[in-house]
């Protein structure tokens, strides 16, 4: 049997590089209250596998990235269970960017689907 797993892994890694930011921003946009890393990870767990087999530790650097780019803002609150937690909340800029990203995602998804389903002449 030819080993296809490495190809799958590589593909998933490249694919998720962009979608993780989109998914995280969407989770933050849907939440009324600021969320911290662990909460976001658990919310994503309920929706299936948006990380495409990736590990949840990948979320933290991306969250920091979003915050660094001004799409999310963050603050630290002490916690009883461990180190102080960093809570994230989406910014106005983040919402605008999310709308554009979502549009771009839908366009890509539709065109990829139509190619896969053979709707080409």
């Amino acid at each position: 049997m030819v080993d296809t797993e490495t190809h799958l892994k590589k593909f998933q890694k490249e694919l998720s590089a962009g979608t993780v930011s989109l998914v995280l921003l969407a989770v933050l946009a849907r939440s009324d209250e600021p969320l911290y890393g662990y909460q976001i990870a658990k919310r994503l767990e309920q929706t299936g596998d948006p990380l495409l087999g990736g590990k949840q530790s990948a979320l933290y650097p991306v969250l920091r990235n979003l915050s660094g780019a001004g799409l999310a803002e963050s603050h630290v609150e002490p916690s009883v269970s461990g180190p102080p937690r960093r809570y994230y909340r989406i910014t106005t800029l983040g919402r605008q960017v999310l709308a554009e990203w979502a549009g771009s995602w839908r366009t890509t998804r539709d065109s990829v689907d139509s190619v896969l389903e053979g709707n080409l002449k």
Binding site: A41, Y60, G82
Partner: protein
């Protein structure tokens, strides 16, 4: 390298630290902090579960230490590429390299850091000297211990603040999270750890150094900046006056500035000096960034 599965949170963090060996120390500090937040939240969410079982389940959701290390290494490369302003295109000619410094934001922010450092230097120096003498004086009394703890805490907060300033203005990657401290130890040992941690001392050394360094940086930046601007603009004004433009009360006569030729030379010298100042600021910025990294971050991981 697949080590034995860790059985406790400190073991997990130790393995993660080992797996990240050789990575940027600031990245290591952030990765350890994130992992601890996740692990402790997981522990709090599953009260009945044994720590070893919990770590085993975390290895498949959060990732085993090796995997986490790889993820942080990869993401760091992507993030730095995406977030940092692209470096200015390299210039081939010597004059391009000399004047190109003006389009490098790093040179301008480093110049600003040099001007700012006298203020931050005074704050750090005062905090360390004041805190140390207060702690020393009160050490004999019962309120000495809380004062010492507050003092070390203040030193750490200021260290994190300085890290942010250095990263933004000088471009040296610094930690975005406080250093990981073991929460398992009894409080007396944690206080002892504050004093045996070389980072506590190197941080205080850095904060003391910041006063003389800040004064030197400020003096150099202010003197060279004022001198080059004065020469450049003064030369320009004299030149314009030489062409018959009214300059109000200003009068240029005598010395080298007499005549359009002298004025042009003065203006040229001022302009060149300004570019030299920018080069100097960028160089000092790099050196100071390395110093901050060494004293504020690296000593904690040796």
């Amino acid at each position: 390298m697949t080590a034995v599965l860790p059985r406790s949170i400190p073991e997990y963090l130790d393995q993660l630290r080992a797996a990240l060996r050789g990575a940027d120390p600031a990245l290591v500090q952030d990765a350890l902090y994130d992992a601890e937040e996740y692990l402790r939240s997981e522990l709090a969410a599953n009260p009945g579960m044994a720590e070893a079982d919990l770590i085993a389940s975390v290895a498949s959701s959060y990732g085993a230490p090796d995997e986490v290390a790889d993820i942080y290494r990869d993401t760091e490369v992507q993030v730095t590429r995406a977030l940092r302003a692209p470096p200015p295109p390299p210039r081939a000619s010597a004059s391009g390299r000399f004047f190109g410094v003006a389009s490098d934001p790093r040179a301008w922010t480093a110049l600003f850091y040099m001007l700012l450092s006298v203020a931050t230097g005074i704050v750090y120096f005062t905090a360390v000297v004041g805190g140390a003498s207060l702690s020393g004086g009160l050490a004999l009394t019962i309120i000495g211990i809380p004062v010492v703890i507050l003092f070390v805490g203040l030193v750490r907060v200021l260290s994190l603040v300085e890290g942010r300033i250095v990263e933004v203005l000088l471009g040296e990657r610094m930690p975005r999270r406080p250093v990981y401290a073991s929460r398992e130890l009894p409080w007396l040992e944690r206080i002892a750890a504050m004093f045996t941690d070389p980072r506590t001392w190197s941080t205080m050394l850095y904060q003391l150094l910041m006063l003389p360094l800040g004064i030197v940086y400020f003096t150099v930046a202010a003197t060279l900046g004022a001198l080059s601007l004065g020469l450049g603009l003064g030369g320009l004004a004299a030149l314009l006056q030489g062409f018959g433009l009214p300059m109000g009360e200003l009068e240029f006569n005598g010395g080298v500035i007499d005549g359009p030729g002298g004025a042009a030379i003065v203006m040229l010298v001022g302009t060149l000096l300004f570019f030299v100042t920018l080069h100097l600021a960028r160089g000092i910025g790099r050196l100071h960034g390395a110093l901050a990294k060494q004293l504020l971050v690296k000593t904690s991981q040796q």
